[in-house]
């Protein structure tokens, strides 16, 4: 049985969480935090490992280069003992530490999936801002270390669009609003191709919302154990936050019926074991409001997300704009707030309608332009949209032909990863 007949491994490396699984499944098998706890003691080891050194290590009970943990285990291990340093290999959707990234993949493959990388094709994802050098590194690690038979590096926004391919009307044109834990991008895709010059980024992402929720809680004087505060704020955000249609109405609602809207959080302090509790109030709707009023959180950026999306579409070629407005796709964990899709839809629609009304008024009623259809689409797999798209793409029969193969790598070197193998013969 050759590698092409086995399901491909799909790994979506996000800043916050990494999604791992096999093609053909609906959900990733594992969702783990992208973090590695490394034991740095072997760095100081003398050059040229002698036998004596090995025995010293063996007697100490460690194999230092294998002494590391990833995911949840990394967090708990680094808390339990002082010899591990936490390292986040991906920052703002860009890989910054290839050593730990390689270790991370190694554990993903052998510990989590426990599969043999030589048996499977791999689909990895990259953000639209990844440089060609990073892609080369990715290929180098995959082909040199893991000997994978083939690999495809897919763009996250394109995958998020293909996630919708399972619906009756598949569309490969649309604006992908990808709000992850570390970075937010608005990416226009036309017929499966990204319009690179129109990519806009938004400086606020999932972890900023967490930070803002925490800030609000602290300012009100709620007592949260400091060693766990970020974790708790993250859970508060995930469980209670939502988007409202108007802040003023929401404030009134809370003031009239506090017992209905204000929630209680109870927990146990990890250090002392003392139970504690605090109230969750306005931050429930103020947290996600940052996307629509960034000025309440940061000083130097004042453009709301719907305006950024509008600017993005306006900068795209004119013949694609209607198609782009028609299909605004959400992806990433931080688009999961209740009411987020509705709010984005209303705000974006308003911007577009205002512009049309203005242009109609300017033309004085001689020419009436067609109304522009605006659709913000949310689908059930939104949270893992990128992974799911990867799973869909890599189960297509054409997938294996469009991969970078080991033979190509051996023949041409890592530079094959710079371009997409779909344009074979162009490099």
């Amino acid at each position: 049985m050759d590698a092409a007949s086995r399901p491909a491994v799909v790994i979506d490396n996000g800043t916050g969480y990494t999604k791992i699984g096999f093609a053909g499944n609906v959900e990733p098998s594992f969702v783990i935090p992208s973090v590695v706890a490394v034991n740095e003691s072997f760095l100081n080891q003398s050059e040229g490992r002698s036998m004596g050194n090995y025995i010293a290590q063996y007697n100490a009970g460690i194999m230092a280069d294998l002494d590391f943990f990833i995911g949840e285990e990394a967090v708990s291990q680094s808390r339990a003992s002082g010899i591990y340093n936490l390292s986040y290999p991906i920052q703002h959707s860009k890989v910054t530490n290839w050593d730990t990234m390689e270790k991370f993949w190694q554990q993903c493959i052998y510990n989590y999936l426990s599969c043999d990388p030589e048996d499977h094709y791999f689909l990895l994802t990259e953000s639209p801002i990844t440089s060609p050098e990073d892609r080369e590194y990715m290929g180098e690690i995959m082909f040199e270390t893991f000997n994978v038979p083939g690999m495809y590096i897919a763009l996250q926004p394109v995958l998020a669009l293909s996630a919708g391919c399972s619906t009756p009307k598949p569309q490969m044109t649309g604006v992908v609003v990808d709000i992850g834990d570390g970075a937010t991008h608005v990416v226009p895709v036309v017929d499966g191709y990204i319009i690179g010059s129109s990519i806009k980024s938004f400086p606020i992402s999932g972890s900023d919302i967490t930070q803002f929720v925490l800030q609000l809680l602290r300012e009100r004087g709620e007592l949260i154990p400091p060693e766990d505060s970020f974790e708790i704020a993250r859970k508060v955000k995930e469980m209670y936050c939502y988007n409202s249609s108007s802040i003023v109405k929401e404030y009134n609602k809370y003031d009239k019926k506090p017992e209905k809207y204000i929630k209680q959080w109870t927990g146990v302090k990890p250090m002392t074991g003392v139970p504690f509790s605090f109230d969750i109030g306005y931050e429930r709707f103020l947290g996600p409001e940052v996307f629509f009023h960034p000025e309440i959180y940061v000083d130097d950026f004042r453009t709301p997300l719907p305006d950024v999306i509008d600017m993005c579409v306006q900068s795209a070629p004119i013949d694609t704009r209607r198609g782009l407005y028609k299909n605004v796709v959400l992806s990433g964990g931080s688009t999961m707030f209740k009411g987020f899709q509705k709010r984005l839809q209303t705000d974006l629609k308003k911007i577009v309608d205002d512009r049309i009304a203005a242009s109609n008024a300017r033309l004085g009623g001689d020419v009436i332009s067609h109304p522009v259809e605006v659709n913000v689409v949310s689908h059930p797999v939104q949270r893992f949209a990128v992974w799911f798209g990867g799973s869909v793409v890599s189960s297509l029969p054409e997938f294996h032909e469009s991969c970078h193969t080991k033979e190509d790598y051996d023949e041409y070197g890592a530079s094959i990863c710079r371009t997409s193998p779909i344009f074979k013969g162009m490099y």
Binding site: P7, D99, K103, P117
Partner: protein
Amino acid sequence: MILLQSPSRFLLQILQDRVLSPDKGVDLDCHSVEFDDVRYHIQVKSLISVLLQMTSLVVVIELRIGLQFSMRNPHVVVLSVSLPIPPPEAIFFDGLPFGAIEAIKAAYGAVAQILDPPKDGYNLTMKLNLSKLPSDEEQRQALLVKIASVREVVLGAPLRFVLKNLATKTVAPEMDQLIALVHRPKESFFLLPQQAEKVTVVYPMRFQDSTDIVLATSFLQELIESRRTAGLNNAPSCMWSPSPPLELKGAPAQALTANAGFVTFVIFPRHVEGKKLDRTVWSLLTFHAYVSYHVKCSEGFMHTRMRRRVESLIQALDRAKPESEKSKKLVSGKSFKRLSLNEARSNSNS
């Protein structure tokens, strides 16, 4: 992680989720593949989908019976396992290794029910009834882990049988010649249980990639070497040879082609006493995967060192830059360009 883990994380996670929230009537249909072509397919059909299938066929009274039956259904998980294709010299009975059915029954008891025939394309299909799990937290967890290590139970059954005999120092009458056991698709390793007090295990080692062959060969030689150190006196003795050892005389020729030599372990009864048995079975069963994992790890380790070396060389080059250029870079503060060797040379010439 130095040793590979026996329970499949994939299965364990799904089973634990099911046990914690059994009322979540979500359909589940997942595939997974492990090393050496062991495939899992795990399925849960919830109330609604079962009912829908039934309503189309049965009359009202029967529907009620169907309802009672399917009310319990969220607890029922159907797990199918497919094993690597055995080479001709390894013997399978009804698609399973020798003694597998007994091993499953002994390990899982009432929780698992073997469905015959298995699902198309799989070697074994089990119906797991999660409502029959022990109520005690610890026992339940232990049993779930055991279910997740189904690979060890099924593929390791014959090995376990032989090693159990070794522990009691008996030789089963039909088990006195060379035994071939499958561990990779179309590849097997060999057991020689002729004597009552020892079992010899021989692995022909094969790797695909030329770099892997070199690394694995030296890894195995190091393994033999380190076995001789004082701390490891009680470990099974092991040998490596580039040609087939004499013990494999009777084996078919195509099973004796190996590009990374042959490894022989001699297991004594003290290695399989009591609780050690499980660990020994698992380690022997996955020896090839273990070597392959460590070959990959050492490649990763070498890359780490190479990267560090390149970084230190680049730093040395940076230090060699003329003073004027350095200050220019500081002002702009934005230079991402790495100096190539040619440029460095031209800089030093100028």
